[in-house]
Amino acid sequence: MTKRSYTTVNPCIMCQPMGSALAFKGIESTMVIYHGSQGCSTYMRLHLAHHFREPVDIASSSLSEKGAVYGGRENLKKGLRNVINRYQPRVIGVATTCLAETIGDDVPAIIREFKEEEEIGDDPKKDIIIIPVSTPSYGESHVSGYIKTLEAVVRNFAENQGKGRAIKIPNGKINLITVESLSPADVREIKEILEFTAENYIFLPDISETFDAPLRDDFPKIAPGGTLLSEIEDMPNSLASLGLGIVSKNLAMEFLEGNYSVPGHGVPIPIGLSNTDNFFTKLVNILSCSIPEKYQKERGRLLDAMVDVHKYLYGVKAAVYGDPDMVFSLTTFLLEIGMHPVLVATGSKSRDFGMKIRQIFKEIRPELEPVVLDGIDFDSLNDAVSNCSPDILIGNSNGRYIAKDRDIPLVRVGLPIHDRVGAQRILTVGYRGALELLDRITNAILEATDTFTSPVQAKPATYTSKVTEEECIEGMK
């Protein structure tokens, strides 16, 4: 048994700057620069390119030894200048790395200085907006990097706009803000739901095009798509915010509520029946509309499918791992369809995670006793899997070693998925997402147990009673 207190073996989280890039990449015409050494940007580009199968350009201030000793001011300014020169972005996200944080660079001050030197103002219509986020790798995880970045973006635009506290001009829109990166397919699905319900909505951040770009005639320097800047600016004027994710704090939503009185409603990421029901309920309550027939039908189809597969799934032991909110929503769904999540784990350190997971067990299947872990690495997950002996793993592709070792199926969801194609198109949200997930899980189990080709009931004698070769030949005579 590997009881470790000082070493992390096979991490289940990524570092904060990566989460930051994920969030920034969902904003219109945005480039990201990491303030730190060259390697950080290359590794994270590799990580994301591998997952989304898209080119991912992230700049670096390429700090050298000199920069580390005398400060990275000049490097960062030069980096910003070069990025502006080559990419002409409308927004530049500056995420710090552990190096920049530790040498104590005051990034906001450097940016102020840079803006003065280059005569860059604060008007998003004509000026380049530069948004710093403090994301040292030694703090928390990519999840916090993602959340912090969205808050920084919303705050930056709101405060620029609201200089002198402009009066709120209600726009009747609904803000949708996620706490974890959904897949491009997920974002598309939620946007489609909003098209059919809300007349106007703002989805932040929208990676549906930027990380799943169609092949086109030209090759734009920055992938088109992303949340429009004018919309981000407009977020403080919205009717309400709907936050996806309830385990992690939705800082952007809280900011809008606290500073601009935009009521925030947190719901779980809509994976599975009850979470999607919850999402729709909140949505129609805010908008005072009805649920479109299209989704009633999709819901009905999901119910139909759940009935179809209930026998295959009942009591099947699952281990689910990944980012906290996704794991929470997945767990809810697994419980709804009768599976037994014996092990529920996240790599992030989270006080609320265990509490929320136990709560959902209590609501749906109080008789079950799951093992709930937070702040795990894959080595400790492996130990836990050994203890719990699940029949199936559900999580990102880094669990493949464990799945292979134990010869159990792995249903890939989350990030990263480096060993299969289509990560950007994995749909889990909404009734359709639930349906797809249900099919994938069921089929993975069927594939593993092979229920169709090896009959479990009374086996015909011809298949079971062993006949020797001689007897066979004898019989043929």
């Binding site: 470790r4 207190s5 000082y6 070493t7 992390t8 073996v9 096979n10 991490p11 989280i13 990524m14 570092c15 700057p17 990566m18 730190g36 050494s37 060259q38 390697g39 950080c40 940007s41 290359t42 590794y43 994270m44 580009r45 590799l46 990580h47 390119a49 199968r53 898209e54 080119p55 991912v56 350009d57 700049a59 670096s60 201030s61 390429s62 700090l63 050298s64 030894e65 580390a68 960062l76 030069k78 980096g79 070069n82 990025v83 020169n85 080559r86 790395t97 552990c98 190096l99 530790t102 040292p136 790798s137 030694y138 703090g139 770009a213 092949l215 086109r216 005639d217 090759f219 070693y401």
Partner: protein, 518 residues
């Protein structure tokens, strides 16, 4: 004449790093070997990465990254280096430094982590990589490693790879410095001065292969060739190596250096320290493999070995030639772009492509030095663009301007090529197919063929559906799915294989004579 301004639309400071070869025999002065430009989006990684990629294939070592979680996370099992035994190297070990460790120092955590890992895994060695932050807060990892080494009686070796202290090449050097500590002094003292007279007619010669990382199992196609020649391969550094096999590297009679960028430093050290000479070789492509085997046989001087080498070369070349010729017919005249981490691979690819009848139109590396670019510019044909430390926008523009049909590079470049409708072949960590040796070259040729000649390139020509082109008659459709290769319109450029071969021969001869005079 060098034309190095305005070749592509890029930053002024980047212009000296891009040049086009204009004249025969011309050596292009190219800026290189500098720190990457801030904001230019270099494809390079950091010092740590350089060290990690070199050392990671040591299969039974614990590779412990002393730093925050990211550095270990992004390098977890990315190397694709195969092992024939244990696979400790495929796990990612990190001290996962948090804010408090940064404030109060991470030495205690590191020391405890080492104790813990020794207890859990009893590894033969622990390699401790330092990261950016360690360099800033000043953890004395050397002292911690020394103490741990004494305490546990195994080598605990610090790898000085603070990310910001240089570039990837400095990481190679840090890795070699770590390897030095693993190589034990041989039983029988052997130095440059008292080199014993050995007749290789009687004694089986022993070699090391330096700079082969056994990606996808490459080494397993190379070792048998030498064994058939009656040469024992002691260890390949670092592909499929173990601490034990590395420790015996000093007993070799000769080092063959493949990845010269990372391993020449170590080879020179071994020459000085243990009197082991080295030859720079490549095991990719028929020509380079032939040179490698002949040079090695030549070095040992034994007629028996020379004969065996010729025998192997004849049998193997005859065996794969039909398949290579078949592919050659399908890909000849196509234009290739090469963007590699190290220059050795780039150079050998030039020859590989000429064996397939293809032209190299772009060639670049992340870490090439002056001499490397000289050799590269010697080996390529006129019109080829040479680039150091390229960035995505430059690569994209070059691919279009140079009308490349295929790009050979790594994952980050793959999707640039794909977006432009250019075929791609991964010659980096990610490939799962062996490319070295005779069968490896067949694999490579087939991959080039399957990518270039895939019908998808025809399908994606029309990126926006225009119903009128479909409905205007069957001919239009027929033309669209004709069997012609996709890059038909690029075929204008004349192919002069003789010229290419000429240059390469000169380059190869130079290399041989250069080695001999050493």
């Amino acid at each position: 004449m060098t034309e190095n301004t305005g070749l592509v639309d890029t930053l002024e400071e980047r212009q000296p790093y891009i040049a086009r070869k204009q004249e025969n025999g011309q050596i292009i002065p190219l800026a290189c070997d500098n720190n990457s430009l801030a904001g230019a989006i270099s494809q390079r990684a950091c010092v740590y990465s350089g060290a990690r990629v070199v050392l990671n294939p040591i299969t039974d070592a614990i590779h412990l990254v002393h730093g925050p979680i990211g550095c270990a996370g992004y390098t977890w099992d990315i190397r694709g280096a195969k092992s024939s035994g244990v696979e400790t190297n495929r796990s990612s070990f990190s001290t996962d430094m948090k804010e408090l460790d940064v404030i109060f120092g991470g030495e205690d955590k590191l020391s405890n982590a080492i104790d813990e890992l020794v207890g859990l895994y009893t590894p033969p060695v622990i390699l401790v990589y330092s990261t950016c932050i360690v360099g800033v807060i000043g953890d004395d990892i050397e002292a911690v490693c020394k103490m741990a080494s004494m305490k546990h009686n195994i080598p605990v070796i610090p790898v000085k790879s603070e990310g910001f202290k240089g570039n990837k090449s400095d990481g190679y050097k840090a890795a070699c410095d770590a390897l030095k500590q693993l190589i034990k002094r041989p039983q029988k003292e052997k130095t440059a001065e008292n080199k014993p007279e050995i007749s290789y007619e009687i004694m089986k010669p022993r070699i090391n292969i330096l700079g082969d990382f056994n990606v996808a199992g490459d080494v397993w196609l190379i070792k048998p060739l030498f064994e058939q020649m009656g040469i024992e391969v002691l260890v390949s550094l670092t592909g499929d190596s173990t601490v034990e096999s590395i420790s015996r590297a000093s007993e070799a009679d000769l080092n063959l250096v493949q990845c010269s960028g990372s391993m020449t430093y170590l080879a020179k050290w071994m020459q000085k320290e243990y009197g082991i000479p080295y030859l720079t070789v490549s095991f990719f492509g028929i020509e380079d493999i032939s040179i490698a085997l002949r040079k090695t046989a030549e070095y040992f001087g034994s007629e028996d070995i020379k004969e065996k080498a010729e025998e192997i070369l004849e049998i193997e070349t005859n065996r794969i030639t039909p398949e290579i010729s078949r592919v050659r017919e399908r890909v000849k005249g196509k234009k290739a772009a090469i963007y590699m981490g190290g220059p050795a691979k780039a150079l050998t690819l030039i020859k590989g492509f000429s064996e397939l009848g293809m032209d190299v139109v772009i060639i670049g590396t992340q870490t090439g030095q002056k001499e490397d670019y000289e050799q590269i510019s010697y080996s390529v044909r006129n019109g080829t663009v040479i680039v150091d430390d390229a960035n995505p926008l430059e690569l994209a523009e070059l691919l279009v301007k140079q009308k490349a049909d295929l790009m050979v590079a790594g994952v980050k470049e793959r999707f640039i090529a794909y977006k432009l409708g250019v075929a791609f072949c991964d010659f980096n960590h990610d490939r799962v197919v062996k490319f070295e040796g005779f069968d490896g070259f067949v694999n490579f040729a087939r991959e080039v063929d399957t990518s270039i000649n895939s019908p998808v390139w025809k399908s994606i020509r029309q990126r926006v559906l225009k119903p009128e082109t479909i409905s205007s008659g069957k001919e239009a459709v027929k033309e669209k799915i004709s069997e012609e290769p996709h890059a038909k319109e690029y075929k204008i450029m004349a192919v002069e294989p003789e010229l290419l071969y000429l240059n390469i021969d000169v380059a190869a001869k130079n290399q041989i004579s250069g080695e001999a005079s050493r």
